[in-house]
Symmetry: C2
Subunit: 505 residues, 2 copies
């Protein structure tokens, strides 16, 4: 408890008191009220404490969305511990890297991922105990040992600027960095969301995105702050989601293309009523947004700009207000576009997007040198380019060359990492990986390759090679072979020229 900040445990206790009998979560047919959720979190916090978890300790979770995932966010916050949610779509070696980097005391793994984690178990010295969410065999112990603890719950931690979650993202050297967010960050982001969308306890969020992603957990916590309920689905399936929206009268969800388009398709086929939706936000095509507006005339699609390092969105506006833009800065923070010397550039000129305010993260985990650079001159440097028009709307203009990033379906793919993998192929002499527009996923990975003399390599063979080594969503969708890559005077690959020559699918 703290006089001047409210914490995640404060929100859970307030909800239990003010909205106790209302639904907090619906997941695969189970319905949990706010009062029940508080009880689950208190028991789990007691169980984690008994298992030796204290303030600052990391607790890793590798799981599809589930009630237990939501409970873990609350229970870790209760103890002042840090949740380390791991993207289960990563390759085994990437998962091993994230777990070694975050060095959790406990690891909690759902059924599907237990074999993969069991194979790593000897290589993670920080981990005291592994728990399984169903079907567990050694080394996994049943999660119920944690979740059904009968000890009295400890006093909740005070929240504030202590860490609450580490989200791995934003590799610049091909290795993801853990963005540490505090409870104060998360609560401020939730407040921004309730403000922008006027959320209250009648709102029902569809958590279609993974809870290991800030956009998934961010929506869940925003709806929780408002006293509303969240529909948790293990994984997004458009048909299931359409029926759930109709049955539970969902009001809001956040998506990346092509989720909304699929939802509209399945709802039309099944005659599912989507009219309860009032807000959908995310990244999508003008065509899909227009279809959504036609299907749900009372709803609005919201565009925004954000990243894990700023706790989610920092700009957010109805898409229709300025189609194509990423919206305007919300009141809670400052968003500017600056030149190399951090001077604001004039309206409509492109520069790096920088952010200041309570959503700025607590730093890359154990990367103090990176933090000093990314926070220079009291601005958080996003590594993204953009321009701000005369009315304050931000127009996203790609990644800064130092920090290229491709986003197929909302995932983060770092060209440098894909390039490093491609270079491991013996036939490859040089490579540049770029993002190209993609009708289905928004963006796709394209590799522009130079082969060694005397070798032969097909696109399909290279794609298979990469897909076997890193997460499959990172493998190139397109491969072209050229005789040489353009280079600028300093000898580096001229990425602008590569894009100019090859920036089509």
């Amino acid at each position: 408890m703290s006089l001047r900040s409210i914490s995640i445990p404060d929100i859970l206790r307030r909800n239990a008191a003010a909205f106790g009998d209302r639904t907090a979560f619906v997941c695969e047919g189970t319905r949990v009220t706010h009062r029940e959720h508080l009880g689950r979190v208190e028991r789990l916090a007691a169980g984690l404490a008994q298992a030796g978890v204290g303030a600052g300790d990391r607790v890793a979770v590798l799981a599809r969305n589930a009630l237990e995932f939501a409970d873990l966010y609350g229970a870790a916050a209760w103890l002042g511990a840090i949740l380390l949610p791991v993207n289960w779509r990563l390759s085994p070696s990437e998962i091993a890297y994230v777990l070694a980097d975050g060095a959790p005391k406990l690891v909690i793994v759902d059924r599907e991922d237990q074999p993969g984690i069991a194979a790593l178990a000897n290589s993670l010295p920080s981990v005291a105990v592994y728990y399984g969410l169903g079907g567990e065999v050694a080394p996994f112990r049943p999660f119920a040992e944690l979740a059904e603890c009968s000890n009295p719950p400890p006093e909740p931690a005070s929240g504030g600027d202590d860490g609450a979650v580490i989200i791995h993202t934003a590799a610049v050297d091909g290795r993801p960095r853990g963005a540490l967010l505090s409870q104060a960050n998360l609560v401020a982001a939730a407040l921004q969301m309730t403000a922008a969308w006027n959320l209250d306890e009648r709102d029902v969020g569809l958590i279609a995105l993974p809870l290991f992603h800030i956009a998934g957990f961010g929506l869940l916590l925003g709806v929780q702050l408002a006293g509303g309920s969240s529909l948790i689905v293990p994984k997004f399936e458009a048909g299931v989601a359409a029926r759930l929206v109709a049955a539970e009268r969902a009001t809001i969800f956040v998506e990346f293309a092509p989720m909304l388009g699929s939802l509209l398709d399945r709802a039309a086929e099944a005659g599912a009523d989507l009219s309860s939706l009032r807000i959908v936000s995310g990244l999508d095509t003008p065509e899909t947004i227009a279809r959504f507006e036609a299907a749900c005339p009372a709803a609005r699609f919201w565009a925004g700009y954000g990243q894990s390092e700023v706790s989610g969105y920092v700009t957010l506006s109805p898409w229709r207000d300025r189609p194509g833009s990423a919206g305007r800065a919300t009141h809670v923070n400052l968003v500017a576009v600056v030149d190399e010397l951090d001077r604001a550039v004039p309206a409509n000129e492109t520069g790096e997007i920088v952010v200041r305010g309570p959503l700025v993260f607590q730093g890359y985990w154990r990367r103090e040198a990176d933090n000093a650079i990314v926070w220079r001159n009291d601005w958080h440097h996003t590594g993204d380019l953009g321009r701000i028009d005369a009315d304050g709307y931000l127009w996203y203009a790609g990644r800064s060359p130092a920090k290229e990033l491709i986003k197929p379906g909302g995932e983060n793919v770092y060209p440098v990492e894909v390039e490093r993998t491609i270079r491991e192929h013996p036939a490859i002499a040089d490579v540049a990986v770029i993002g190209v527009p993609d009708a289905q996923w928004g963006e796709a990975v394209k590799a522009v390759c130079v082969c060694r003399a005397g070798t032969t390599l097909t696109a399909a063979a290279l794609i298979d090679f990469v897909g076997g080594r890193i997460a499959r969503y990172k493998k190139p969708k397109h491969v072209v072979f050229v005789t040489a890559l353009p280079r600028s005077a300093n000898g580096l690959i001229d990425r602008a020229k590569v894009k100019e020559d090859h920036g089509r699918a």
Copy 2:
């Protein structure tokens, strides 16, 4: 500048960049854009710095609402200095007390109050220079010396939890205490307001309340955070206000009875169009609220609970959602009702209203012992009684006996102070001062008096006596004479019994 908080100077610079050509303020025919306002604040900050004002120094202002008043808030924040706005309706001795307590380096006084302050000038050792806002003679120097400084503006202070303003309020011993609010408090309150009311740059606030009051400055800053404009009137006059609302298409104002009723009367007489109003908030009677809703069917009246110590409102809901209640806690903070041991009481039971969150003030100025008491157990104790119903609506239930307070027309009157003054009359043996309902002002001051044997005293004579010694709004409107006051077992006046017997006008 600070990475994780935004300050008042940040807001002014953002507005100048994003909304530069839009109107920030209109005052007595003068129109100031956001860009011009930033320039005025920068020049004034430079002037204050040249006059020796630095971080933590107090700058007092005694003035009717004016553009310069808004500039002073910005310029003090720019320097990390603390504005000390003084209620000019106080008596000379009360004003002297507030100035001695706040110990400002500079005092800035409007034309009307210069004679009164000139009389105090020798008794305020902290004050280096007095400035006048027009018509000044010695010891007052022209405000233009500050406001038209040609030095370059200093770098703005970072804001955060350092003090920004001291508002004197909440006497428990008959002397007002200075509630210190930080920039972070004020910005959080402004954010709450933009969230609750969905404010944006098209909003136009009518600043009908004094800028020395948190409700007046709070609305101004909330509208400023949204990039909107504020209509500043030196003093509320219903006819002027009605014309201004119509001419400038005002969307929002905050009031205490009988302001809204008078505005509706004058607008009806003059045929002034009030249809631009979408939000009026404050304290008023059900009859006036119903009249307002009939006159402005697209608008809503909002009810709330607040005090200076929590930077304004902490609960806020449309009045019609639960007529008679003070609304529900906004998302940004926790509001609870507790017993003497700070345990939450069940729904619908009365206890003391306590608050936690970013709106809780930084303390009573130089009253550390009071702060320790008022913040015990990590809750701010408001000194007010209330109950919270099963749906979370707060119902105000009077002041805690330890901290009685009467609110005629939104002003704070402490019974203990009025009693102390009445006791100075030689004919008075005993007295209890209570608040009684008042059709015009919401509440009125009533004195229940016991006269000494052999004396005669009329109500009118006693009212004149009091009105000559303290602010005239504090003098009793009603006086009754009794032979004895009821006392409880501990020998103290039984205030509940006095109210039971005399709690009517």
